[in-house]
Subunit: 193 residues, 2 copies
DNA sequence: GTCTATACGACGATAGAC
DNA sequence: GTCTATCGTCGTATAGAC
């Protein structure tokens, strides 16, 4: 019988996700993970026989799925006007990144290249994100090639603003990156060089 | 007498900088540092009595200085046309980030918040960067407030593109972020929302 | 100023009781 | 399924010879 009430798989992964996003992979020691999740190390190995790497792998899988199926999902509601969908996505991103105060797994885990599976998950998530943004641009009338560039730039904008927020403590650039999303993704006149 | 030819302080810091930029702080173990620098661990402690933290501290100081005094220095040549200076800075950034393939210390070290001095150095470097970009905007006729926003956005663009490059392997967004610098920093018409 | 050798704590991971 | 207790390794850091 567990001394402490068992932590559900969902809550467990939530807490792991939070920790990995905040401190990355190497800084998230088993001791810190145990403290953050409320489970002892050996209990964690029972759930994740392959240890930390498996935790990070499952976290990247789950976050990738959540990001696609929740945050970016409004993109698929083709009955809703494009502008409206972009606004909804912006709101979702604001929430997902906690107004710019919570780092992205892409930044947190990409520096310390843990293993190829994790890197592949991060790459897939990033490319799915860009793909969704590009599809919006195409729908709004952009040529495919330009839509893809604008999509990349919009994602880069958001990611860079998160870096800036973490380093300087100023989240205003993040807020602007969301505010300018409609223009970046659907505008007909070229905003770039 | 040293068995191996002594490594100069400059070369030593160059190699430390490279390693920290590539793998971050925690992944840069003393063993890896020894391998990367060509010095044994105890020799490294002779040069950096406070160990890894001192190495990271000196690296952030030096990179901050280099960035301000070399990469961004052309901004101060007021006899040169603004457009020309921005182009020179873009070229310097391209070189500094090796066409987008070499990470920025801001990303590499900001996730694992090592200590307050290092964080302060990163913050200073980022703010100096934004300050220089903003000054260029003001010089080009932007209102102070808007120049600062454009400067932040330009930096965020570059940083985000570097994240994207590391995750997806695609450096085209990085190249675009440099190409669009002139427009971002000196353009009179508002590119943002 | 660099080396070899070593101390010692923290790390990821496992064994076995309940 | 969670716990306590423990293993071996690798981490940072130091001692002392040259």
């Amino acid at each position: 019988m567990p001394r402490n009430p068992t932590v559900s798989n969902d809550v467990l992964l939530d807490r792991l996700t939070h920790l990995f996003r905040m401190v990355g992979y190497e800084s998230a020691s088993m001791a810190r993970i145990a403290a953050a999740t409320g489970l002892e190390k050996s209990s964690l190995y029972h759930r994740f026989p392959n240890g930390k790497q498996q935790m990070a792998l499952e976290v990247t899988e789950r976050v990738g799925a959540t990001f696609a199926n929740v945050v970016l999902a409004p993109a698929l509601q083709h009955e809703t006007p494009v502008a409206k969908r972009v606004e909804t996505i912006a709101a979702n991103l604001r929430e997902f990144y906690k107004e710019g105060t919570m780092p992205c797994l892409l930044e947190a885990l990409s520096v310390e290249a843990v293993n190829e599976s994790i890197s592949a998950n991060l790459r897939s998530a990033a490319e799915a994100w860009i793909g969704v943004f590009a599809a919006i641009g195409v729908e709004a009338g952009m040529p495919r090639r330009r839509a893809r560039q604008c999509a990349q730039d919009a994602v880069a904008n958001i990611e860079g603003a998160l870096v800036l927020a973490r380093v300087t403590g100023d989240t205003t650039a993040f807020e602007r990156s969301l505010k300018s999303l409609p223009n970046q993704l659907t505008s007909h006149d070229d905003q770039r060089n």
